[in-house]
């Protein structure tokens, strides 16, 4: 099977400091892949590099076989690649409705968009109650739901999630991860999951990559990683 997303030896720099020092990742269709690592290891940088927000010094990125490095970020959602960035980043002075509508910005099939909107409200009924409220007035958990809902509105084939559990209460996190699993199962959405909560990430994913200061130091099936003593010590809080 061909990987749906492939990174070859990605190098990025921040001024003179190299943030990513040669990252190679493969994500196959339908799987959930986790990227774990300490703060500043380069996890978010990788996602931003994939989406073209951060420029790449060297390396190639392939999505569905097409080279996408250097493409402007706005070209990716129509191709089926969507990111839910770190910190939710919902539009604070737009309503919930408007935020979700923007998720489907590139689409023109109004009927289907309506259906998807209903689906999203079905998944997150609390958002439906607040549909005319401004995004900035929502709680952290609600914003995360809104961010994910907005991403779902673009009918992504590959979803990049950056720290979905950050700053959220355990119950909310549980709900969100249930939904992540759900969309992976029912819609075969491939998911690349960046998480500081390594436990949760490795429980959810099938495979995992471990990042440390811009390099991949380990790559394996999630279960194996979870039982790896070094990983347990460093990231799983043993």
């Amino acid at each position: 099977m061909e990987p749906i997303l492939q990174l070859n030896d990605i190098v990025t720099s921040y001024g003179r400091i190299q943030a990513l020092k040669g990252i190679s990742i493969q994500v196959f269709p339908g799987e959930i892949v986790a990227m774990i690592g300490a703060n500043g290891a380069g996890k978010s940088t990788t996602l931003m590099a994939i989406c073209g927000v951060l420029p790449i010094d060297r390396g190639e990125i392939y999505f569905k076989g097409q080279a996408i490095q250097g493409m402007p970020p706005e070209k990716l959602p129509p191709m089926g690649l969507c990111q839910v960035p770190e910190g939710r980043r919902i539009f604070p002075r737009l309503t919930v409705d408007e935020n979700l509508a923007l998720g489907a910005f590139y689409r023109h099939d109004t009927e289907e968009i309506e259906k998807d909107l209903d689906t999203v409200y079905g998944l997150f009924p609390i958002l439906k109650d607040r549909r005319r409220q401004h995004g900035g007035t929502l709680s952290g958990g609600e914003q995360q739901m809104l961010a994910i809902g907005r991403a779902l509105m673009s009918r992504p084939q590959v979803l990049l999630l950056d720290e979905p559990s950050l700053g959220l209460a355990p119950l909310v996190v549980q709900k969100i991860f249930d939904i992540i699993n759900d969309i992976n199962r029912t819609q075969s959405t491939t998911i690349l999951l960046v998480e500081q909560n390594a436990n949760l990430a490795l429980q959810t994913a099938q495979r995992g990559y471990v990042l440390e200061t811009g390099r991949i130091i380990m790559e394996d099936r999630a279960e194996t990683l979870m039982h790896n003593p070094e990983i347990r010590k460093a990231y799983l809080g043993e």
Partner: protein
């Protein structure tokens, strides 16, 4: 009392015009955090192109036979011209400087402002250019107050444009995209909104509105000058700041207030110093409440 009402109407008219120009400032600032010094020149260019077109229509005799059609055509074409101008200016003088420090793009805008006003002078002459005065003669009286038809047209046109803008920004998909880009440029590109296109569109709309104001000012005062963009530009900026820079409703409100203050100040305090009032308001607002009336969070530096 009649004097008061007369001034009230004058104030609303002027305020509407300032609002139209202020919208351009505020929208551009909202999306790329730049005070477009050259914005006043879109206003001036609009005045000029308007008089050129109307002059042409007069020469062809169209103005006499189809005044409404000519006027509408003049407005639309002028707004289109200035939008065309603005989009080009953005690409040439502002876009390449997006990663540079703020001073560079400010100075580029300053240079552009000087360049444009002088280009107008060189192509159109140093002297005032007169608008055809056959349009909209007369008016009617309401009590002791005279309201000319011209003023009604201007008021109506302003209201139409402001409502249209409101609908565009708050009810259409592209309007939502514009607001999203102003709030978070990176996130909006992640939802497939092309920030370059939105920025161009913002410039175009802002310039179009300023151009319409330019035509109306030309009609109202009877003539245009190459440097007519300078003072109204600063006052409109004061209006945008007063309303809360980046806030569209604020710009409309601010424009109205500045217009009223200028007219009433000129009428009741001092005619000579009428230009000073707008500056005083600007300085006072920035000193006491920099976020303006509608309280836009100016320290919100979104990457």
């Amino acid at each position: 009392m009649d004097y008061f009402f007369q001034q009230l109407i004058n104030g609303i008219t002027l305020g509407g015009l300032y609002a139209l120009i202020a919208l351009g400032y505020t929208m551009v600032y909202g999306v790329i955090q730049l005070i477009n010094f050259a914005h006043g020149e879109f206003f001036a260019a609009g005045g000029y192109v308007g008089v050129i077109l109307l002059g042409y229509f007069t020469g062809r005799g169209y103005l006499e036979t189809h005044p409404i059609l000519c006027l509408t055509a003049a407005f639309l074409l002028t707004m289109g011209y200035c939008a065309f101008l603005a989009v080009g200016i953005e690409k040439v003088a502002y876009k390449p400087l997006r990663s540079q420090p703020r001073l560079a793009v400010l100075l580029s805008a300053l240079g552009m402002s000087i360049f444009l006003s002088n280009a107008l002078m060189l192509t159109q002459g140093v002297y005032d250019k007169a608008y055809p005065s056959e349009l909209f003669q007369g008016g009617f009286h309401l009590g002791g107050v005279t309201i000319s038809y011209l003023r009604i047209m201007i008021l109506a046109m302003t209201v139409v444009l402001l409502i249209a803008l409101n609908l565009l920004v708050f009810r259409t998909k592209i309007g939502i995209a514009m607001r999203a880009t102003a709030q978070d440029k990176i996130m909006s590109s992640l939802v497939s909104i092309s920030s370059n296109r939105i920025i161009s569109l913002t410039f175009a709309i802002g310039a179009g509105l300023a151009a319409a104001a330019g035509v109306m000012v030309g009609l109202y005062y009877g003539s245009v000058r190459y440097d007519m963009g300078f003072l109204p530009g600063i006052k409109a900026f004061a209006a945008a700041v007063l309303g809360g820079i980046g806030n569209i409703t604020g710009a409309m409100l601010g424009g109205l207030i500045i217009g009223m203050v200028e007219i009433f100040g000129a009428g009741y305090i001092s005619g000579q110093y009428k230009d000073v009032f707008a500056f005083i308001i600007l300085i006072a607002v920035l000193y006491f409440k920099p976020t303006g009336i509608m309280g836009e969070n100016i320290d919100d530096t979104r990457v």
